[in-house]
């Protein structure tokens, strides 16, 4: 166990395998030579049933996942079982040593199962639990033997069977409690696993079952239940099955590596596809999230370019930073249980690397589009507010003064004391003021349709339609007022379309329809004129397209069957 973090040399693994075979052969010889406990063929078989899967599983795990301590831990567990048959020896010391280590495997099982998959215990609580298990199976065991729980042991000091039996009862109860607590821990961990992590869940199930059975075996030992042999058989079966489930899970991951190859093919076939979904499929983790680092924005975004905070790793989620030339490029957030599947992760990431730069460029493009869109919204909205303010200034300033002036001139003109010649000049002046007022009114109204703010689209359109060059059929169907920015855009669409009809269409009538359909406002202006659509697609309509699209809407100008043009705008009412 000297080098967990680097791959074991193959000769080491071979040596361990040979040692395993050697030890098993020794156990077999011992069992044949032993006359003491008449070990049956079944007992020899059961020892082999535990040792072989753990040694094989440990070797495979160490080989395939050198970074995990699970392999060495499984090997240790497997070999610890070979000390148990020493109890079959008629040699007192060998027997006593075998008996001394009789229960250590229980602590090792608990340790191995809780340490799955990284080989390390997580959290103080687990370390305390496993530490207690070692103390109970080794420390308390020694005390129990010294007190005289087993008169045949050479280590027996007190030789008081009663005290020894009580000590044994306490020991078995305590270890049963430890094992059950470990099983409960595994149960909690299993419910934390996503449904998509099926192989891992299977392994955890097998481990939990083995721990519960082991606890049951010890409890039945305390009370000397008659069916203890059956429980022992089931327990050994479960303990032996656990590493087999683990091997199956490993095999399943080997199969999953095929997904990495599939990912490569998929990315080659369509290099412009978004990466997140294929990655999630290849790693079998639908909760997987891909985020990109955009240096120009100095921030993280998701693949749609929307800002996404850099995800912090937690109990369930692991984060892998992908960089290039030391610069962060992307980050993957995935189910923590995947972290153990180094090879799969490495294979998938290697496959994804070819498309990562493209993916980031796309995310950046989308982020810029969003930025552009929102700045366009800001520009249009700022323009609208500025126009509203200007109109208001004119209304409350110049227009009022001119009205007051015309009133003053009117009063002077009405005064009988005024000289007739002066009266004529006053009338002239008043008419000049009126002309200015009319011009100013047109300017102010053009700047902002103030009637909109106070009275809404229907009233505003009524006046617009009244000023149109042709009779217009107006139909407005709105339950509630849309946001003012949307009303203004709709107003300008109608205004511009009606102006175009007056200028270019030779139409004799027009129709204006405004209605709310779900979250969108539809505005339609059509006429019975003859003009081609492109002829009427003047600069005014182009300006409108900007205004409509800035609000996330869409403007369309098309010819109508049987003559005439239809201008249609669709505006989201957010």
């Amino acid at each position: 166990m000297a080098s967990h973090d680097q791959a074991p040399r193959s000769w080491m693994l071979w040596a361990i395998a040979v040692a395993g075979i050697g030890v098993l052969t020794g156990v077999l010889i011992l069992s044949l030579a032993s006359a003491r406990l008449e070990p049956s063929v079944l007992r020899v078989f059961l020892i082999g049933w535990i040792v072989i899967p753990y040694v094989v599983g440990g070797l495979v795990a160490w080989w395939r996942r050198p970074a995990s301590r699970l392999g060495p831990l499984m090997l240790l567990t497997g070999f610890s079982m070979v000390l148990v048959p020493l109890q079959w020896s008629s040699q007192p010391l060998l027997y006593s040593i075998g008996h001394l280590f009789d229960m250590v495997p229980a602590a090792l099982f608990l340790h191995t199962f809780l340490a799955f998959p990284s080989g390390r215990l997580t959290g103080r609580w687990e370390r305390v639990l496993v530490g207690s298990a070692y103390a109970i199976t080794l420390g308390l065991h020694v005390v129990k033997v010294m007190l005289g729980a087993n008169p045949n042991s050479v280590f027996s000091v007190l030789d008081n069977v009663t005290v020894g039996t009580v000590a044994e009862g306490v020991q078995l109860s305590l270890i049963a409690v430890c094992l059950l607590l470990g099983a409960a821990r595994l149960y909690r961990r299993r419910s934390g696993l996503g449904r998509h992590r099926r192989p891992a869940a299977l392994v955890v199930d097998a481990f939990g079952l083995a721990l519960v059975m082991l606890a049951l075996l010890y409890v039945s030992g305390i009370f000397a239940w008659p069916f203890i042999e059956i429980i022992r058989l089931i327990t050994f079966a479960a303990l032996g099955l656990a590493p087999i489930a683990f091997l199956f899970a490993l095999l399943d991951l080997r199969l999953a590596r095929g997904d990495a190859a599939g990912l490569l093919v998929e990315l080659r076939a369509d290099p412009t596809a978004d990466l997140q979904a294929p990655l999630a499929r290849a790693l079998r983790d639908p909760s997987l999230r891909l985020s990109y680092w955009l240096p120009d924005f100095a921030g993280w975004v998701d693949q749609t370019g929307a800002p996404a905070p850099f995800p912090a790793p937690d109990e369930h989620r692991a984060v892998r930073l992908l960089d290039r030339d030391g610069e962060p490029m992307a980050a993957l957030t995935f189910d923590r249980s995947l972290e153990d599947e180094h090879e799969l992760l490495a294979a998938v990431l290697a496959a994804a690397a070819i498309a990562l730069e493209n993916g980031r460029l796309r995310a950046e493009l989308r982020a810029r589009l969003t930025e552009l869109q929102s700045s366009r919204v800001r520009v249009v909205e700022a323009g609208r507010q500025e126009r509203q303010r200007l109109e208001r200034d004119l209304h409350d300033g110049a227009q009022v003064r001119l009205v007051a002036l015309s009133m003053e001139l009117g009063l002077m003109g009405e005064d009988p004391a005024t000289d007739p010649d002066l009266k004529a000049r006053l009338l002239n002046a008043k008419e000049e003021v009126w002309a200015s007022l009319t011009e100013l009114r047109d300017v102010a109204h053009g700047i902002y349709p103030a009637v909109l703010s106070g009275h809404g689209l229907e009233v505003a359109l009524e006046s617009l339609v009244a000023r149109a060059a042709v009779p217009v059929m107006l139909s407005v169907d709105l339950d509630e007022r849309p946001p003012e920015a949307v009303e203004v855009a709709a107003y300008y669409v109608v205004s511009e379309a009606l102006a175009n009809i007056g200028k270019h269409s030779m139409a004799t009538s027009a129709q204006v329809g405004v209605r709310r359909h779900g979250p969108r406002l539809w505005v339609q202006v059509s006429d019975n004129g003859a003009g081609r659509a492109e002829l009427r697609n003047g600069s005014g309509l182009r300006g409108l397209t900007d205004r409509v699209e800035a609000l996330g809407g869409h403007l369309e100008v098309r010819e109508v069957d049987g003559g005439g043009v239809c201008v249609q705008a669709e505006l989201p009412c957010r």
Partner: protein, 229 residues
């Protein structure tokens, strides 16, 4: 025109009692001067709609004169107050003044009835005589719709336009009629007899196919709706 026309025609009749709501001091005081000078009784002049409404609750004036845009938001406060007064105090005549005239608002004001309603551009105040005439007409239960609304509606081109069948004189009568002028008023303006006005009016209604509506104020809405369609 002499000031004598501006003065009350019969000194024995009680003066028209007016309440004003206009947020510009210049215009508010100007209106007070014009109305007082013409012998009308200006009960109060406010810069907001709420005070005007409170005044109506205390003592109803004969006529309220109000700006369509009033504080606090300068959007629809004046219009709302006007509609509320028409609803709650049917005997109070309402004359709305505005920098713009909007057909939609005129139709809203007239929708219940055109009796005692006026909607004029502020510019009209400068033509003191005509303005006072409109004030008196509205106070007496008539109506006054700004000629600008009517002339805008008349400008448009139509297919098979029945308007083209009107003589120039009939057209003048139509415009005056739509802005709320009474037959007597039209007669005075066009210097013809009232009898002649009545003939022109029925001829216009015939040619346009508008059903004859009887009262002078009701025909305002009928003509406006006709012109709009």
């Amino acid at each position: 025109m002499s000031m004598s026309r501006v003065l009350p025609s019969s000194p024995s009749a009680p003066p028209i009692r007016v309440a004003i709501a206009e947020d510009s001091v210049l215009l508010r005081e100007g209106l007070r001067r014009i109305l007082t000078g013409a012998g009308l009784d200006v009960l109060a002049a406010y810069d907001n709609a709420d005070d005007l409404l409170a005044r109506c609750r205390a003592e109803t004036p004969d006529l309220v004169l109000l700006d369509i845009r009033l504080p606090p938001t300068h959007t629809d406060e004046g219009m709302r107050a006007a509609l509320q007064i028409r609803r709650e105090y049917p005997t109070v005549a309402v004359l709305v003044l505005s920098q713009y005239v909007e057909l939609g608002l005129a139709l809203k004001l007239l929708s219940e009835s055109a009796e005692g309603v006026g909607y004029l551009l502020k510019d009209r105040i400068g033509d003191v005589t005509e303005f006072l005439e409109a004030v008196r007409r509205v106070a007496a239960g008539g109506s006054a719709i700004d000629p600008q609304i009517v002339s805008t509606l008349l400008r448009r081109r139509r297919r098979d336009d029945p308007m083209q069948r009107l003589t120039p004189r009939e057209r003048e009568v139509l415009e005056l009629m739509a802005s709320g002028t009474s037959n007597a008023g039209i007669a005075g303006r066009l210097v013809i007899t009232q009898r002649a006005v009545e003939k022109y009016v029925s001829s216009v209604f015939d040619k346009l196919g508008i059903p004859s509506t009887g009262t002078e104020s009701r025909r305002v809405l009928a003509v406006l709706l006709y012109l709009r369609s």
